[in-house]
């Protein structure tokens, strides 16, 4: 903002003061022009009187402005004159209603389009996640609330940038930088991904930090500590949302602490002395299954994903040079009753070329009763000496959490929790 003592014509000083007051307030657009004319008329009249009393034009204008009050003194009252207290103290701060008619600077449209794309992608992501239902209901609720808050802030920033608000420009700047950094990081990640929004953010950056937009927002209010925190959290929050939600405890569903899994591997050499027949046995006991969303009944009704057990050789996954073993037999039974809980089997692939890498099967969740012991058995033929293979036995609980054991022939190992189990790499069903 230029000071009152600048070289501008006095009338321009008066008009700029009115603009600043309106830029600090949230006035419905239909009242803007009237109010601006009325405030200017007041300043003009005081200015004239001050000159009549002997002041020069510049000093008279400065005195009129001083008597009228600063934006901080007048604007909050104007906002409250048109809006309720809640709006005036929240959105009214973020979204004053002044929309300049013309003269949008370079980079303005690109920045707004970035916000528009973020909003569209956010809505798409929300819809996909709700439909795909990868979270437990509680976490879905937490995640969705976070995304809705994020979408609300993006929408506010979209409108506030049009209204020359400094906080909206800062938001765009932080987001654009973060997107570019994330895009660069994704290039070095495995697997490599290309983020098109990051590429677009790279295009936006020069305009976002350009002089045109800086001047565009220069008459709006400064960013205090609280608003700065909102902008920063709103800009970077989406990246933290997913890990934060995953890290939050969810007492509504069973977790890895509710399942014990003991795995052993017995290996027998074939007469050829090279290959072998191995049996991997896992004993599982659930303290409970899901309480929500579906419970055991819901699972029986087919509303939830089944649970998966799989056995794979890590060697097969890492370099793909060792041919996977052939499955001879697999079973899943209730030790006490002998009830069969075997649902369907699948083979794991090490790569998109269907190179075999292991075997798995789905457990019928309807057969699982908390407190009972179940025995899962894999009998496999390996084209290696029996003691040359390390097995990996994994239990995947509805893609939410898992237990995993790594063991060699002759070993018995207690499976340990894994935060994000490998998905059952179901390439084709047998």
């Amino acid at each position: 903002m230029k000071g009152a003592g600048s070289l501008d014509p006095p009338e321009e000083m008066l008009r700029r003061h009115v603009s600043r007051i309106l830029a600090f307030s949230s006035v419905p657009s239909e009242h803007e022009a009237d109010l601006a004319e009325e405030l200017y008329g007041h300043l003009w009249q005081v200015w004239q009187e001050n000159m009549s009393s002997g002041l020069d034009a510049g000093s008279a204008a400065s005195a009129a402005i001083e008597a009228f009050g600063t934006p901080d003194e007048v604007a909050p009252g104007l906002t409250r004159a048109f809006h309720g207290w809640l709006y005036a103290s929240t959105i009214g701060v973020l979204l004053p209603a002044v929309v300049p008619p013309q003269g949008r600077p370079a980079g303005f449209t690109l920045c707004r389009l970035l916000l528009g794309l973020m909003f569209a992608f956010g809505v798409f992501g929300l819809a996909v996640t709700v439909l795909a239902n990868p979270y437990t209901p509680l976490r879905q609720l937490e995640w969705s609330a976070g995304v809705v808050a994020y979408l609300g802030l993006v929408a506010l920033a979209y409108r506030a940038l049009l209204r020359q608000q400094r906080w909206a420009l800062r938001y765009v700047q932080i987001v654009a930088v973060a997107l570019v950094v994330a895009g660069i990081a994704a290039l070095f990640a495995h697997p490599l991904t290309i983020n098109f929004l990051s590429i677009y953010a790279l295009i936006v950056l020069p305009g976002a930090f350009g002089r045109g937009l800086a001047e565009w927002v220069s008459s709006s209010r400064g960013i205090g500590l609280a608003l700065g925190a909102v902008v920063l959290v709103g800009a970077l929050g989406p990246w933290a949302l997913e890990p934060a939600v995953a890290a939050l405890p969810d007492p509504t569903v069973a977790g890895p602490g509710d399942l014990s899994m003991l795995v052993s591997a017995q290996c027998t050499a074939n007469p050829d002395g090279v290959s072998g027949t191995d049996t991997i046995t896992a004993y599982l006991r659930w303290a409970r299954t899901d309480l929500l969303p579906y419970g055991v009944l819901g699972q029986w009704q087919g509303l939830a994903d089944p649970d998966y057990l799989q056995v794979a050789s890590p060697d097969d996954f890492t370099d793909g040079t060792i041919p996977g073993y052939a499955i001879d037999a697999q079973s899943f039974v209730d030790v006490e009753t002998g009830a069969d809980g075997y649902l369907s089997s699948y083979r794991l692939a090490a790569n998109p070329f269907f190179q075999p890498a292991g075997n798995g099967f789905a457990v019928d969740p309807a057969t699982i009763v908390p407190g009972r012991q179940y025995r899962a058995t894999f009998t496999v033929s390996v084209a290696l000496p029996p003691d040359a293979t390390e097995f990996r036995a994994t239990y995947d609980h509805q893609h939410r959490w898992g237990l995993e054991a790594l063991l060699w022939c002759g070993e018995t190992v207690t499976a340990q929790p894994v935060a994000t189990p490998d998905p059952p790499q179901t390439v084709f069903y047998q």
């Binding site: 007041h42 009228f68 003194e73 007048v74 009252g77 104007l78 409250r80 004159a81 048109f82």
Partner: protein, 112 residues
């Protein structure tokens, strides 16, 4: 805050504006100067005018609550138009009510 029932109190900024408009039709500048001339300005007390610009939010609230009505008046060439305010019938009833009851002391810093 919406004004309930009886409208603004006599000691408030809005009440003083209504009292002034009960005398005659005025525009915002006149109201502000009248209040300053009457000694209501400065001091920051209840119903006082901290700065002239504070008149306009109060006027807009009164207009929103249908206590006053505004109209534009052309003054002349090269002179900005002025928006004159006058009491509505509802505003007149509120002013009559204020005149019939004494001004009540109110906490400092509270405005309608």
């Amino acid at each position: 805050m919406r004004m309930a029932g009886h409208g603004p109190g006599p000691g408030t900024l809005a009440g003083k504006i209504l009292e002034l408009l009960g005398i005659r039709e005025m525009h915002g500048y006149e109201i502000a100067r009248s209040m300053r001339d009457a000694g209501a300005g400065g001091g920051g007390g209840h119903g006082s005018l901290g700065c002239e610009g504070e008149v306009y939010p109060a006027l807009r609230r009164l207009e929103r609550d249908c206590l006053v009505g505004g109209r534009w008046v052309d003054i002349g060439e090269d002179v900005p138009r002025r928006r004159y305010y006058a009491l509505t019938p509802k505003g007149m009833r509120v002013v009559s009510g204020m005149r019939s009851r004494p001004a009540m002391a109110a906490p400092r810093g509270v405005r309608p």
